[in-house]
Symmetry: C2
Subunit: 244 residues, 2 copies
């Protein structure tokens, strides 16, 4: 059954009109007819069952149970990567349950986002996040953000826990910090996880993170690319907090 995100707050028994995007997908692409049902995530991220009426409005049938979101809110904070990797990270991190996905201009980022193109890029990435959230059957669409520097990101973001995935730690065999940190989290808390760009996190950035009480963790013994590391991390969070 399809799932659509809608803006208003829904209520069992009420009716609402489909916006043009949803209407086009359900009625034309999926050839929906009156009596057909679909799932709707409303503006409060609550999931409902909806049924298509003769006049193409939708009646809210009932709320649906849904436990699709990670128990902690994970912000992925990645040093800006090259080329289309940002799109890939947004799509896959959304599939894997990230709450927010942020990029920052890292000391060692090769790529740069020009200020005049930033708005267009973020709009595109936000669309990718929405599409991925729908396909993953999530009730939350991650917000995509950009910060010029790591300092600005850390200053502005709110979090209960801060972690940096550090390649050098992995090379030294560090494998305990990630599990230790995750076992200390409580449901509903916010965790920001920092990942370096292709060149890694710079010494100045590491020093700044350590001053901000960041947990320095290896992600298993293999060296992961900048676009792979956030996915390992999100899968580890899911494995530890959802499956066990």
């Amino acid at each position: 059954m399809q799932r659509y995100f809608v803006k208003p707050t829904l209520k069992t028994g009420s009716q609402f009109e489909l916006d043009s995007n949803v209407s086009k997908h359900w009625l034309q692409v999926m050839r929906g007819v009156p009596g057909d049902q679909a799932e709707f995530v409303d503006g409060t991220e609550t999931l409902y069952l909806g049924q298509l009426n003769e006049d193409h409005s939708v009646t809210v049938v009932k709320p649906l149970a849904n436990h699709v979101e990670l128990p902690i809110k994970v912000t992925i904070l990645s040093g800006l990567p090259k080329q289309e990797k940002a799109e890939w990270i947004v799509q896959k991190a959304t599939e894997m349950g990230a709450d927010t996905i942020c990029f920052f201009g890292a000391d060692w980022s090769v790529a740069k986002w020009q200020p005049n193109k930033l708005s267009k890029k973020l709009t595109r990435l936000q669309k990718i996040a929405q599409g991925a959230a729908e396909q993953a059957h999530r009730t939350h669409i991650p917000t995509v953000r950009y910060f010029n520097t790591l300092k600005q990101a850390i200053t502005e973001l709110k979090f209960d826990h801060l972690l940096v995935a550090y390649e050098e730690a992995a090379k030294q065999g560090e494998q305990a910090q990630l599990v230790k940190l995750l076992s200390q989290t409580k449901t509903g808390e916010q965790l920001t996880a920092v990942f370096g760009p292709e060149g890694g996190v710079s010494p100045a950035e590491m020093q700044f993170l350590e001053q901000n009480q960041a947990t320095v963790a290896g992600l298993g013994p293999r060296i992961l690319r900048t676009e792979t590391a956030p996915l390992y991390f999100l899968a580890a969070v899911s494995t530890m907090l959802e499956l066990q």
Copy 2:
């Protein structure tokens, strides 16, 4: 320090000649000079420290400790996906520790690999696996294989455990089977994990897998794309068997 894969079996104190690929990378790209050192993985997947001599041969200095491989051998068996996804899967599954990466012509695969182009494709994918293994600092390069059908793959592959990641199981909230299976594995055992193509695993394929005692598992509550699911799985294996 760079790491290179070499074919012969090495021995502390012995000398060997660099092949042209390694020679080109170390001497030209990295501008290596006599006295410089690098890591070498030999034909038995043992890691050694090597030092460059005046005549550009290499002396094997000593073996190095290395625990970079997953404790169980995971074969990723994926229904053939569309376009370049096979390359992404090979690269990222190698980063994440897969032992073998196989594709099969699934009932619902949209993509098809023509027999006359198969050899060229596999050669290319094998190269991607080697590059990813080197960058990930692994000692094992996954073999990439192709089977015309799931039946052929299951008949030919050897494994102690068989699992299929099933979207319908995830939708029904199944979250226990993956953890249960992984906690039953012993170091050195072989596990084959089956993933459907974009369309999913067909009923006939599911029936065949169940007849072969496959564990049917959800990978967390979110629906993952065909190229993302194997990465979640490998990260879950690492989280459970390496970090804990």
